[in-house]
């Protein structure tokens, strides 16, 4: 009796956890094996650099990443000079100067990523009324995380016959509701990767998902490393304390 009830309870709890994964009510997302998922997982630096290139050359036309600064890119394996050069490609507004005027200057590594639009209204106006969301935390802000981002990028199709599309929207089989304001952003060979990797849609989608995961969780590698040390320590401590407990308790009963 007790076992049955307990297993029913357990099944109920699993039922509680599982729906979160299906909350989007859409098609099941293709599950990829990411280099960072495993307990000792780390980011794939080459994929991050390619992903950053996709963001920079494609997504940045519409999406801001306001939580990132150019100096954060050193994490991707760029050296200081390279980061300086990347930042210098952007003009940012600074000031006021001694005359009380705002002025333009090239960005420096401590500047935040330059946003494509000055405000939400401008972003909406340029995108049919739907503002492209900030991508800094996107990989943690959707069920499925990087799997979802990858799926969204490859999920564009012609709407099935009879599907009532609203004008200005695009059919995407993985987007909840299937109608998304973002036009298919990734084109085959839309970017040219410096490392010679072939820029298929799937490749770019994976790389940009890698990059966005890093952007959302930049301390993941440090966390994984520290976790292994802490857990090893606690395992040893538990064993020692258990032996001590047995010893101290040996005269009871």
């Amino acid at each position: 009796m007790r076992k049955t009830i307990l297993s029913l309870g357990l099944a109920a709890v699993i039922g509680l956890v599982a729906p979160a994964a299906q909350a989007s009510e859409g098609l099941a997302l293709p599950k990829l094996s990411w280099s960072f998922s495993a307990p000792f997982g780390t980011y794939d630096r080459a994929a991050l650099q390619r992903g950053f290139q996709v963001y920079k050359e494609v997504c940045a036309a519409c999406h801001s990443m306001s939580l990132l600064a150019y100096r954060d890119l050193q994490d991707l394996g760029y050296n200081e000079a390279e980061v300086k050069a990347i930042a210098a490609q952007y003009e940012v507004t600074d000031g006021p100067n001694d005359q009380g005027e705002m002025f333009q200057r090239p960005a420096v590594p401590s500047d935040r990523f330059k946003a494509p639009f000055p405000n939400v209204q401008a972003a909406k106006a340029a995108n049919n009324g739907a503002a492209p969301p900030d991508l800094s935390l996107m990989a943690k802000a959707r069920v499925g995380g990087p799997d979802y981002i990858h799926a969204l990028m490859i999920g564009y199709e012609n709407a099935p016959a009879g599907f009532a599309m609203q004008p200005g929207l695009n059919y995407n089989k993985y987007f909840p509701g299937n109608q998304i304001a973002m036009p298919a952003p990734i084109n085959p060979d839309g970017v040219t990767f410096a490392d010679g990797t072939k820029a298929t849609v799937d490749q770019q989608a994976k790389d940009v998902a890698n990059f966005l995961m890093w952007a959302a969780e930049p301390k993941l590698e440090q966390r994984h490393r520290m976790g292994a040390q802490v857990i090893l320590f606690l395992l040893l401590l538990s064993v020692v304390l258990y032996i001590a407990k047995r010893k101290i308790w040996s005269d009871v009963h």
Binding site: I5, A12, K140, G227, S238, L241, H253
Partner: protein
Amino acid sequence: MAFQSDNKVIKWIEYRLPIFTLLDHAVGTYPAPKNLSYWWNFGSLAGLMLVVQIVTGIVLVMHYTPHTSLAFTSVEHIMRDVNYGWLIRYIHMNGASFFFIAVYFHIFRGLYYGSYKAPRELLWFLGIIIYLLMMATAFMGYVLPWGQMSFWGATVITNLFSAIPVVGESIVTLLWGGFSVGNPTLNRLFSLHYLLPFIIVGLVILHIWALHQHGSNNPLGIDKKDSRDTIPFHPYYTIKDLFGIAVFLLVFSIFLFYSPNFFGEPDNYIEANPLVTPAHIVPEWYLLPFYAILRSVPSKLGGVILMFAAILILFVLPWLDTSRVRSAKFRPVYKQFFWIFLANCLLLGVVGAKPPEGIWVLIGRLATVYYFAHFLVICPLVGWFERPRPLPTSINEAVLPKAAAAAGE
């Protein structure tokens, strides 16, 4: 019974303020039943998590900004720029969940072994008040990062008070500090989120004081008779608690380091936006059973009343349970109902996470009715009609044959 020491400093202090005697009575020579099982570890674990939450919370406040335009980015600043800020924030975030895990084990332990019965009713009351304040504290903390779930959770929960007749609307305006959830709301919740944990500390001290008046209950549920039934708290239970802490922290670490967002909602990584309502507004997992009860009642006021009644009913449990036997070990019928009740609570949790439509509405209503029936009907009736198994005459006697058998093997 005063604490003895040859140390000059200790003697000097002890003569003026007998603090060492107090501590010695609390965790030194304090006689504890010798048969406490590992289910008795969760009290010290809950205490540990309270300290962890306070310490990490104080560090978070050093970097957090309680303003609607800055709160979300200040939490991300903690995650990205503050040294080990990600660790502190993730400990606090997952620590809340593990605090509730410890407390839920602790409460159900009490329900199973009848720890709420005389003479421990006040001890039980203090526990319920601590639990209520924990829920309030955790709810307010969840608002602080000012994500979508923070904002909409706060909106839904504060709106509940508008169901109160006559004064409801005024109470909501008072809670909000305006006419919608906004900056004044965030500020008062922040202030109270800082305050309540310290009130909890005070209540925990009273809780332990009340505990030490009659001592711990035990798996047999019978009173201790003489010194053969007890052992000093130190070193026996200090080492056992320490071992429990190490194991608990081990499990905690697995989530903290390898799945820190397991208990969270992705929507809370989107900054609060009063113009966009999330598809499903759900509270944190530890509040889900009560959320399910709330939504099971078609009337808003009725739902609010039932939700609070679900917790307040625990206050009358010592009198609703009419059995004189404490431990479910000797109560064959109650024991079955205990496990059904536990499964029903888990089921309510599942219902709370589902959108209130279709079959879930019906399941939620049935589970709610059962929840109250357990206390109002089953507990009194089982107490009357059940024939408990014979109780052992003393703790020592009940423990001895087991030890003898173990030695014989």
